[in-house]
């Protein structure tokens, strides 16, 4: 009569999974800390250019971004297909840059304002005309530290 066959001798004891949540939480915290949520939605198409002598932008707080490129597909009806400038979340023109720079400079700590870096993220096929205009505007706005955003190029020479 095997009504209560309590002890199955063949069954292996289950692995203790009590510490599994801890491990997973550890991973979770790592990703939470290292995550930077995308701050802006790109409205222009930016295919990054490539270079070899690049430097890392260490301190994100010091950096102000200017995006340049052809408007994305859904905006082309409205904004055309000529390269445009995007500041924050909207399309802008060259005269807007000065106030944008002043604004983002005001948002920074006073001690860090002199270290401000402007990073131009431009599409690789974008003509230099727009970028030259931006550069002139940046000079007027006295934001002289400029960074041409580029990705690491693989082949060497």
């Amino acid at each position: 009569m095997a009504k209560f066959r309590k002890k199955k001798s063949g069954g292996q004891p289950a692995i203790n999974t009590a510490s599994l949540p801890d491990i997973v939480f550890m991973l979770l915290f790592f990703f939470m800390v290292s995550t930077t949520m995308k701050e802006v939605d790109l409205k222009v198409e930016v295919r990054p250019a490539q270079a070899t002598e690049i430097e890392k932008l260490e301190n994100k707080e010091l950096v102000t971004f200017i995006y340049v490129g052809v408007p994305a597909k859904q905006f082309q009806a409205l904004y055309g297909s000529e390269p445009r400038i995007q500041l924050n979340d909207q399309f802008a023109t060259v005269p807007d840059i000065q106030s944008y720079i002043a604004q983002s400079r005001d948002a920074m700590k006073e001690s860090e304002q002199a270290k401000m870096i402007v990073s131009i993220k431009a599409d690789k096929e974008c003509p230099m005309g727009v970028i030259t205009d931006i550069k002139q505007a940046l000079r007027k706005a006295a934001a002289l530290k400029l960074n041409y955003s580029a990705n690491q190029k693989m082949e060497v020479r």
Binding site: T36, A51, E53, L57, K124, P127, L144
Partner: protein
């Protein structure tokens, strides 16, 4: 006799919840750090001071980039790959040639009196030049300076330029100052 045990909270689903969060952060994470070529723009001046002495022809390394992304260096077409070497040659002027830049004896810490080149690179591009091409030129010029500085750091200090102390790096920068002058924009060739 019934055993009285404290009911444990079932933690089996904890892992699932944590996994869910984990996957969410995994997906939203962008680990890429921003990289780029660092440059310094010249400050804005209302009008050019007229009394600046003209820079001698031999001290200027003219680099032109047209709207077809073609390179003209010192009046001769050049391939992008050769630009670094040409720039290094120009800045160093090892043979003290007549047509390459003059040198000026300057007091530099660690080095004593050192002949510092007076060469200036003049970069001019068309409004129609592609951004990538312009960046490549900037890249090659930066590479030339980086290689010169690296070479000097190795010769003098036996270390990589990146590993030097601030003071030493400053000295090397004084010997090889990155002088790239960008002309006011204008249309160069075509369109």
């Amino acid at each position: 006799m019934a055993r009285k045990e404290v009911q444990e909270v079932n933690a089996g689903s904890m892992a699932d919840i944590a996994f869910l969060l984990l996957i969410f952060f995994l997906v939203t994470t962008t680990m890429d750090s921003d990289t780029g070529l660092a440059t310094l723009l010249p400050p804005d001046v209302e009008q050019e001071p007229d009394d600046t002495p003209p820079i001698k022809e031999r001290n200027v390394f003219a680099v032109l980039l047209n709207s077809q992304n073609q390179l003209l260096v010192e009046g001769k077409p050049m391939r992008m790959e050769d630009l670094t070497e040409a720039t290094k040659e120009f800045v160093e002027n090892t043979a003290n040639l007549e047509n390459l830049p003059e040198k000026k004896l300057t007091e530099v810490p660690f080095f004593g009196m050192y002949e510092v080149s007076k060469g200036v690179i003049s970069l001019r591009n068309d409004r129609g030049t592609e951004y990538q091409a312009y960046l490549m030129v900037q890249n090659e010029l930066t590479r030339a300076y980086n290689e010169l500085r690296q070479g000097l750091a190795r010769r003098k200090f036996g270390k990589d330029y990146k590993e030097l102390e601030d003071e030493e790096r400053k000295a090397i920068r004084k010997i090889y100052p990155k002088r790239i002058s960008e002309a006011e924009p204008k249309n160069v060739g075509g369109k």
